[in-house]
Subunit: 231 residues, 2 copies
């Protein structure tokens, strides 16, 4: 119990910062690539800026609002399943007890231990239902505020991240110069935020930094080459 509490606390402390970093790292990639692609075909940076801002608006709404609605629906789905599980343990308690026994046998419990463990677990309805939700259906209770806040934080951070590759096109008039400055600051930012993202997702900082920069760089290179090709 102490362990679980500790993990939860650790999460709330750092999850917000983790969401910010993920949003920024994602937000850097597509606006960067789009701006690079367009800068190869137009001399006028104002169109690059308009396209970039349209993309940032669309991407952040798709991510933030889409994530928020998905989280709400997820929770409703969980509560409906839980309702059904309560009904099942009342109406089909024999079958549901047998399902608990099946899990315990899979974990290696000997037949003589299975029956008493089943009786222990099913002696309390709430505990029994939580057990079935987690192990029969594989569903964890979605924390409502957490999932919503997370989507909104990621969406807002996407906006912030998107303005990093776009800023040279806003402040420097020339498309070619803006492209070079945008590449330099964005690859540096992708590397940096990829590094911090690796720390938060536990995948290793250097690896995440290199992967984030690689994906952003390839996306921008491809977009640039394609735009040149068709213009």
């Amino acid at each position: 119990m102490i362990k679980v509490k500790h993990i939860e606390q650790h999460f709330t402390e750092s999850e917000f910062i983790g969401d910010v970093v993920i949003g920024i790292a994602d937000g850097l990639t597509v606006p960067f690539a789009l701006a690079a692609g367009l800068s190869g075909t137009v001399s006028n940076t104002s169109l690059v800026v308009i396209a970039g801002i349209s993309e940032i608006a669309a991407g952040s709404i798709a991510m933030g609002l889409g994530g928020y609605l998905a989280a709400r629906t997820n929770r409703e789905h969980y509560l409906a399943e839980k309702e059904r599980e309560y009904r099942e343990i009342r109406e089909l308690s024999h079958r549901e007890k047998e399902e608990v026994a099946v899990f315990l046998r899979e974990w290696g419990l000997k037949e003589k231990d299975v029956q008493s463990a089943v009786e222990d677990i099913t002696s309390d309805d709430e505990r029994w239902v939580n057990f079935m939700m987690k192990y029969e259906l594989g569903l964890e209770e979605p924390k409502p505020e957490r999932a919503r806040n997370s989507s909104l934080t990621i969406g807002l951070s996407y906006i912030f991240g998107g303005f990093i590759p776009l800023s040279p096109y806003i402040f420097i008039g020339n498309a070619d110069k803006s492209l070079i400055v945008s590449i330099l600051i964005t690859l540096t930012a992708l590397f940096g935020f990829g590094w911090v993202k690796g720390k938060f997702t536990g995948t290793g900082a250097l690896k995440s930094a290199l992967q984030t920069a690689l994906v952003g760089g390839l996306a921008a290179g491809f977009a640039f080459a394609l735009a040149k090709l068709i213009s």
Copy 2:
């Protein structure tokens, strides 16, 4: 056991189609919004097409390659944790047994049943490690091909989805007419793919259809208004 097998089978059959639908539904949104935003500021549709194709290239690479690399890293992380868990049950077997007991007590097992259940579970190293991975660390074994294929399928479907809102700009010369046709076919497609997406993610078809169309419509409306405002 039969139940688990059944679920796995069900997944492989429909997961591919599910990924295609999710990729298409996501791919519709941002290119649709971007094209709508730009169409408000340029009379010439070729720039809308170039920007749209740049976005599709960037988005699909970010999604496909990004997802692929994340899946590979996830799996490495899982295997490293499993290695560590094997070491811990050898070197700190007493502490690890106590951790199993803590879980069993949380599920309501009485003290007299806990000890024999712990002995059952920890009598086989592989089962013990799998138990700890799943319940102490909350990690499921990532299926390597599955996660990679899923990212690539979603990335490729994103490309297909992105061309739906873009096609009027490619085939109709006029930006205003293209915008109207794009809105009609894209909202219809968002509704349709949202419907199927709801079936696959189990969130309810009509609700998912309305949400998908709403997010896409709002993103496009916002992008259009913003582009008009700054141009």
